[in-house]
Symmetry: C2
Subunit: 144 residues, 2 copies
DNA sequence: CAAATAAAAGACTTTTTTATCTTTTATTAA
DNA sequence: TTAATAAAAGATAAAAAAGTCTTTTATTTG
């Protein structure tokens, strides 16, 4: 469904958001630990998220990453996915046809269209705030 | 969604089924052409499909691959996907948690469960015959 | 039976994805 | 203002996925 990179990115964002809810800025080490990801690789991912203005980064002592509460209410999971994996999951044909459309449909065109629409709806309507609260409340998890 | 290998496999099966509907056995060259896949790689994929008894293979002159009409009415897309990609798409957590469950849910557990169920239903209920007819009738395509 | 045909098997190669390690840059606080 | 801290940047490395090439095995038909 998502690349490993994207999975880590989503989890990292949710974790950062949940910590930002209690005014805590988190470092790469902390994130990697919280989401069980390789530390250096997580650093690379954070660079992308930061460049895409999905997280705020602060260098130096007491630095780290954060997402202001106002921002996390605006940012959708779809933005994170687009930053990491592009919009393949939102657009492209399930069987890999380059020009799959109503005029040139693959054998599963309409069925996949429905599934893609559901995925898109989920990712476009769910904000980081929406998922961060469940984590902060101990109702959901990012590990195991 | 699916690996490239799996996409080719699904398309190959649909093509073979559609040709079997008119009593035509097809060779690797023919398949690769019909689904726009690399020929040698397609050969490798056919080995897997053949070992998994999804297609029948015949060596020698006038050999090739076929799927008897009775079989294509039984075989579901899910079998093809399982043979190539395993059952990750049917089972595994969207965020990559190894033990994602009601007791240890990822933040998108229930939402993904619904999407996974839809995908599973589609793949488990659609037979090769179901999709082969549309192709044979010129209503759907495997190229472009 | 021999030649031709076509898939199976095996050994590689290339590309992409995932991951690591080192150096640089920015920030802070003593 | 310097030492410590933490992210950014850059250069590699390892693993997995995608793809190729060569040889072998099975089958068929003249």
């Amino acid at each position: 469904m998502f690349s490993k990179t994207c999975e880590y990115a989503i989890k990292a964002c949710i974790y950062i958001a949940s910590q930002s809810l209690v005014q805590k800025r988190v470092g790469i080490k902390d994130i990697a630990q919280a989401i069980e990801s390789p530390e250096a690789f997580t650093g690379k991912i954070m660079q992308v998220l930061s460049k895409n203005h999905i997280v705020d980064s602060v260098k130096g002592p007491h630095g780290g990453f954060e997402i202001p509460e106002s921002a996390m209410k605006e940012k959708r999971l779809a933005e994170v996915v687009r930053a990491m994996d592009g919009d393949d999951i939102f657009k492209s044909c399930g069987l890999g046809l380059k020009e799959c459309s109503g005029a040139n449909p693959c054998p599963l065109h309409s069925q996949f269209a429905k599934i893609r629409a559901d995925i898109t709806k989920l990712l476009e309507t769910t904000s980081l705030y929406d998922v961060a609260t469940g984590l902060a409340d101990g109702l959901t998890f990012l590990k195991r």
